[in-house]
Symmetry: C2
Subunit: 340 residues, 2 copies
Amino acid sequence: MPAIAVDAMGGERAPEAVVQGVAAVSLQTDIDCVLVGDEARLQPLLEATAYNPERIAIMHASEAIDLQEDPRAAARYKRNKASLFVALREVAQGRCAAAVSAGNPGAAIAASLRELTLLPGVAKVAMASVYPRAAEAPGQDPLALALDVGATVRCTAEELVRFAVMGSTYARVISRVAEPRVALLNMGRDPLQGDEALTTAHRRLRDLPGVNFVGNIEGHELTSGRADVVVCEGLIGNIVLKLLESVANMAVDLTTSAAAAQRTWRWRAGMAIMASGTDRLRALADYASYGGAPILGFEQVFIKAHARSQPEAIANAVKVAAKAARDGLVPALKAALADV
Amino acid sequence: MPAIAVDAMGGERAPEAVVQGVAAVSLQTDIDCVLVGDEARLQPLLEATAYNPERIAIMHASEAIDLQEDPRAAARYKRNKASLFVALREVAQGRCAAAVSAGNPGAAIAASLRELTLLPGVAKVAMASVYPRAAEAPGQDPLALALDVGATVRCTAEELVRFAVMGSTYARVISRVAEPRVALLNMGRDPLQGDEALTTAHRRLRDLPGVNFVGNIEGHELTSGRADVVVCEGLIGNIVLKLLESVANMAVDLTTSAAAAQRTWRWRAGMAIMASGTDRLRALADYASYGGAPILGFEQVFIKAHARSQPEAIANAVKVAAKAARDGLVPALKAALADV
């Protein structure tokens, strides 16, 4: 398999965490990686860590896109030389098998729309994200996939149906759940709830053979095991995922920071005793370590990792990208979309 | 002041919790209440509790609307005799000062649209809800007001602006914050984020004198103190509020149920030691006790309490309704909307 192109300059902890994550992959697996970024910074970072030189190459890109940067401006002025764009072009031109970036999410969407090829019949793409929820069935993944979380602000019924098909296909390929449960995020279980886009999408998904559609899901059910794939328009997905993430951080604050801030023997003793409880809280916020999720709708595999990714999360995102490429995500998406 | 009409049959714990809440109000305040519902059930419940008979009257209504009932069917077949409709008609016809119900939210919206009068210039109404967040400024309320949470699925820019004006006015009258901070729920702070309705609403709110508009708010900022009034379309508000509520319940589960389920000395000892931490968690879910929030857009005051309201929450909802009526919420709404 060709290498995975990794945007070494994207993310809050880039390039250090990216280099360390890719170095770990080179020692643990047979996955080849191309680190795309400022060679003068990457080479010394790589040399400072343990890695397998046969599995990692560096490709120079002189510019980087900051997390706070306006995506439109970045796409306009940095297209030629920014590491994100260079990495995506390596994939678009077939020299790499998939791309990974933990950088600016808006820029990732803008860059993928410029550099990658839309799948047949797809006009709008979906950025997916994973979040932790209760597993209810045996073998169910501890994470659910939500899409779209910000690539397409408002969606037609057709677009929601395609997002459902693509999300379901991705979950099947990556998590090896044979029939992922797909739900439509709405304000009630009643199929007539929501606007026309939602009621039409509900009807079409109910009648679509290849999708295990379990109906509408409501806000309070998101953290339950009812659905493996949650489908919504980008505006809603973006708000919901950011809220879920802030709540997870709040849970960690309550255990970690509060203990540190209060520094009383009572808190420390309580923390030690309640380890099982705090583990549950902490698990809520640990999902950054699970790696990334795809931007779906392209002929190429592109995994977006969380901007706060630590080396472990980067390594997981690279493994997910390699798995998607090796296990035929794109042919599976094409086959599934042909039935819509 | 005329009495507050209370739907005695609405809510998970109705009529018991409603009767007890109203009885408490009769002993604590000079607010008169009319309990609307099945007289044969209400009278014995009232007699079984301490109350001031000079402050409470019972008005018979032979039917009740269940929480699981289809709101459209309820509005069609139970309009004449259901306690919710009878209570709202008492207000619409000027015999009562305001209405309170903890019943079926969909039915509350349907019934208010049938029985109450829209304010001049208002075509769509907004159901508000409160939720707990961090207070950042001195004197800031520990609760924020979100609207719409389900009355109007999709909103035009004009509707979002009116919701902002009405929510801001309500917060000013009820919480006595002189200039509540109003924000638009969106996928980014950039005024150009979102669709045209959101960008237009952003521009109009920025230029509107009577509103203290602080800009767009993102999902992860909802639990911060950045905004006192969060404005969004009903579909988004519904999903977000249900999610926030489920997370609050999860926090309580972690402390209360987990301790009960595990019943180990370790958990119990840990719980006792960490009391200050669990209090913070518990506060997250206690907001049901804060009473209700209004359905805004009418010439009448209608406070919707949470379906799970305990007597304390009912009592608080009645006090909020009386305050809104006494302090001139409706004239204030008219004045504010005239400037839009």
